[in-house]
């Protein structure tokens, strides 16, 4: 599936939630289920700075697509990271670079996009895009 299609799928899932509690309960579930990162990858280098919670991202290029793993000490943040992984994992660097991310807004998590929320969603997206850019350059060299 393309990044666009996965986003549409997520938006459809969230439409089914009647109130905020269901939505956050789902994020908690996603966060709990995400296997996370082994402690060797929970390094300062992988840490996304500027968050109240700690968020680590690790990405590698395999067979032309980007493999992303993430972890956080806050479960809801980890749940949001799980959504980002679902959207970006196994996509090509070029698709990640050029992705237009609109699902966060549409599933009502827009407030978490504001930089003042300091939960790092903005920083997370930026980090993933940076990976896309870096891997794309690597592939073209």
């Amino acid at each position: 599936m393309t990044i666009k299609e996965i986003q549409e799928e997520i938006i459809e899932e969230f439409v089914g939630f009647d109130d905020w509690m269901d939505k956050y309960a789902y994020l908690i579930e996603l966060g709990t289920d995400l296997s996370g990162l082994e402690s060797q990858y929970q390094t300062d280098q992988n840490l996304i700075k500027g968050c109240q919670s700690k968020v680590w991202f690790n990405a590698k290029l395999e067979d032309g697509v980007v493999k992303i793993e993430a972890d956080s000490d806050a479960i809801i943040v980890k749940g949001i990271a799980a959504l980002l992984i679902r959207v970006f994992n196994n996509q090509t660097p070029e698709a990640i670079m050029n992705a237009d991310l609109h699902f966060i807004d549409e599933i009502g998590l827009k407030q978490h996009l504001s930089p003042t929320r300091s939960n790092g969603l903005v920083a997370m997206v930026k980090q993933i895009k940076m990976y896309g850019l870096a891997f794309n350059q690597k592939m073209n060299n």
Binding site: M21, Y24, I28, I75, I76, V77, N119
Partner: protein, 410 residues
């Protein structure tokens, strides 16, 4: 006298706001307090009727503004019982007040090898300016520790204060733990060793009656926006003898007497420390906030807030896996806490969805978090316009979050 809570809540329009369709429960008072219409009305009136740059104005409006601002200074003087009104310097807030002392007092009295003593439970604004000063002057920053209840270990003071100690800076009430420190005792001991003391009263002027003369405080600093006043205004109280000796910190208009390209002579107190156009409308607003608080009475406010704190503490303790950080015998009206297995940020985010405003994180007091080996806490801080019913809403909210995390907390 007791609090007429319904009447009071009508004075704070924001308290009837709906957040995500739910009634706002505002428990972030230690970060900033709300402002009653008695304060906003006065400020609006000044903007609409009297606004004009203060001091040296020749016209009617300038005189009115000047009068309002200088009356505010006298209100502050009386509020903290300073001996002279020129011992009250208006600043942008607590942070700027501490920076002013660290720079100006530091310039005057601190040299290489000297020592500055702060406590382990200070807000960053009462650590970093001193740290910067120590770096500039090659001086040494020393730290008075606290115990696991969040009480300062005063028994360490005799060994920490040496003949090189030039100033001690300590808070009255800790913003991260709620501890009320025995500042009179601390000041008396420091003075017995000839060490002046700066009191960070940012978290106490809104709760306790302060008398700088009875305390014999050398410097005392606080902000308007935590005292039901406007943002962008703060106070530095300093003893006249120090303020007269200290050099100006910032240069500009207002703080001068005569200027030539060869030499400038400085204005007298308090203007020597108030360079540029001051935030005079906020000064007037702060004066109105003081009037408001005094009309209710700080003793009445303190008693009611203690009642809220006791009520909340008891309810908190009944929640499974709850840990309260800061269990000092003398505490002010805030609770810093964590529920085992639930990240403070998750807790804060979910409470927010219920219309409950709390603060999460380090509360600009990272050394306090380091002491307990944690990354941060959730902090609920109460003001006199809060109610026990609101505390019940918070408790129900915390329990709801615990339930959502069900599997993780048991």
């Amino acid at each position: 006298m007791t609090i007429d809570i319904n009447k009071i809540r009508h004075d704070f329009l924001i308290l009837s706001e709906k957040i995500y369709g739910k009634s706002l429960v505002y428990f972030d008072n230690a970060a900033t307090s709300q402002t009653p219409t008695q304060v906003t009305d006065v400020m609006l009136e000044y903007y609409n009727k009297y606004n004009s740059n203060i001091h040296r104005g020749v016209h009617y409006l300038s005189n009115k503004s000047t009068e309002g601002a200088e009356n505010a200074r006298i209100k502050v003087q009386k509020f903290i019982n300073a001996e002279h009104s020129h011992e009250v310097i208006f600043t942008r807030g607590t942070t700027e007040s501490v920076n002013l002392v660290a720079n100006s007092f530091g310039e005057c009295y601190i040299s290489e090898g000297d020592e500055v003593l702060v406590s382990e439970m200070e807000h960053h604004s009462n650590i970093v300016p001193w740290q910067m000063l120590c770096q500039r002057k090659k001086a040494i920053l020393k730290v008075l520790p606290f115990n696991d209840n969040g009480e300062l270990m005063l028994e360490k003071l005799p060994e920490l204060i040496t003949d090189r100690t030039k100033i001690l800076a300590v808070n009255h009430i800790s913003n991260a733990l709620g501890t009320t420190n025995p500042i009179k005792e601390i000041i008396d001991f420091a003075h017995s060793k000839n060490v002046p003391v700066l009191i960070d009263a940012a978290q106490s002027v809104q709760h306790k009656k302060i008398d700088v003369q009875a305390l014999d405080a050398d410097f005392l600093v606080f902000s308007g926006h935590k005292l039901y006043g406007p943002t962008g205004i703060g106070v530095l109280y300093g003893k006249e003898k120090y303020l007269n000796e200290m050099p100006p910190w910032q240069g500009g208009g207002e703080m001068i007497q005569e200027v030539t390209f060869e030499k400038t002579t400085y204005n007298e107190l308090p203007f020597k420390f108030e360079a540029g156009t001051p935030n005079y409308i906020a000064e007037i607003g702060l004066g109105a906030a003081i009037d408001y608080v005094e009309a209710i009475g700080l003793d009445v406010i303190d008693a009611y807030e203690q009642e809220l704190l006791d009520y909340a503490t008891e309810k908190f303790q009944a929640i499974p896996n709850m840990k309260i950080y800061g269990t000092a015998k003398h505490k002010s009206s805030l609770i810093s806490f964590l529920v085992e297995g639930i990240h403070f940020y998750d807790m804060g985010m979910l409470l927010d969805q219920m219309g409950i405003a709390v603060r999460t994180g380090t509360h600009c007091a990272e050394p306090v978090m380091t002491h307990f080996g944690i990354e941060g806490t959730v902090r609920a801080s109460f003001a006199f316009y809060n109610t026990k019913e609101e505390i019940d809403v918070l408790i129900a909210g915390i329990e709801k979050v615990c339930k959502m995390f069900g599997a993780k907390t048991v």
